[in-house]
């Protein structure tokens, strides 16, 4: 159950960042999680709900984006998305595959509530920046 350690690290990083910005609370933590890690998304959510208590992230949502594993042959440039029974030998030419993605475990951003004197212009900017990018 190392998801507890991982959840603690996530909250620690988010809280430090939120404090730097004098945030009152953290609303969202956006995480990119590769499928070629040892972290299970559901177990991480469970651990997060336990670890966030009593922190600035007490009411935060952990938003996990799953990044699929992609491997590529450096020789024939075949690209594969291994899912189960992972084989990192190129089925086309027999050379080793390189892992292109799937090892991600990164916090992308946090969304926080801050107390601020707000000018109409900065309110416009904030709204613009906090809008999700698709």
């Amino acid at each position: 159950m190392h998801e507890i350690s991982i959840a603690e690290c996530i909250i620690q990083i988010a809280v430090v960042k939120a404090r730097e910005q004098n945030a009152r609370s953290i609303q969202v933590i956006k995480l990119r999680l590769g499928t070629f890690t040892t972290i299970v998304s559901d177990a991480l959510q469970f651990a997060f709900e336990i670890c966030r208590q009593g922190t600035l992230a007490q009411d935060a949502r952990l938003d996990i984006e799953i990044v699929p594993m992609v491997a590529r042959c450096a020789v024939c440039e075949t690209t594969v998305q291994p899912v189960r029974g992972i084989c990192l030998i190129c089925q086309q030419c027999g050379f080793p595959l390189e892992i292109v993605s799937g090892e991600e475990l990164q916090i992308e951003y946090i969304e926080v509530d801050s107390d601020k004197e707000v000018s109409p212009w900065s309110r416009f900017q904030n709204e613009f920046q906090s809008r999700p990018v698709f």
Partner: protein
């Protein structure tokens, strides 16, 4: 004053703090010209017995010490100390892996300036230790034949991150009906670059190939440190 929602870019690896401590450990080890091996396996694959056999083979040629990681007890450290080798036990309580900070803390009490090889025997577990860099220069995964040939396929991250895979207990291959060729093929599939040795710590079969490889690695490491001074 008004509450304003705000998005703050972070772009930080979750394991950032561990990676920084691991980098500091690694720098300390490099400064000493020390080869550090992170030894990992499932519980019962034979890490400690293999370590005992390896230590016996290095005896008189290299200075070795061991950091043992276990949830409970210092039984493994006692076994190593019985060979006349310095050993330090980290008991993690309920934590299923060692992390770089636990190793850094152990190093405060456990000097490594008089060594050629430091072995860190991780908690027996094929999942969690894979994520935590300790600052080692060599990751070695032990897998015993009786665990079944599909083990590397079931725990691909752990096997993928190893430089060396030791297939242990080959003396039991026949009795347990294990297909050694299938096991080796599966290691290759998840880690085409791994160096693989098949051996038995008990009978000593295949052990020399591994320990000769390790002796060479220790020497190369020490020479590299001398060259960089």
């Amino acid at each position: 004053m008004e509450s304003v929602p705000e998005r703050i870019s972070v772009q930080t690896s979750v394991l950032n703090a561990n990676q920084q401590t691991a980098a500091a450990n690694r720098e300390l080890f490099a400064g000493e010209g020390l080869l550090v091996m992170n030894l990992m396996s499932a519980p019962g694959a034979g890490k400690t017995t293999l370590l005992e056999a390896t230590i016996k083979s290095l005896r008189g040629q290299f200075r070795v010490a061991v950091i043992e990681g276990d949830l409970q007890t210092d039984l493994d450290a006692q076994r190593i100390q019985a060979l006349g080798v310095r050993a330090h036990q980290i008991t993690t309580g309920t934590v299923c892996h060692l992390d770089a900070r636990m190793v850094a803390r152990a190093l405060d009490k456990f000097p490594v300036n008089d060594l050629d090889l430091l072995v860190i025997e991780n908690v027996g577990n094929l999942i969690c230790p894979a994520s935590f860099d300790l600052g080692e220069s060599l990751r070695v995964v032990v897998c015993s034949v009786a665990e079944g040939p599909e083990k590397p396929k079931k725990y691909p991250v752990m096997f993928n991150k190893a430089q060396v895979v030791l297939i242990n207990k080959i003396d039991l291959a026949e009795a347990s009906g294990a297909d050694l060729r299938e096991l080796t093929k599966n290691v290759r599939e998840v880690n085409p670059q791994a160096t693989i040795f098949a051996l038995s710590s008990k009978t000593g079969e295949g052990l020399d190939a591994w320990t000769n490889w390790l002796k060479q690695a220790i020497e190369v490491r020490a020479l590299a440190a001398m060259a960089s001074v």
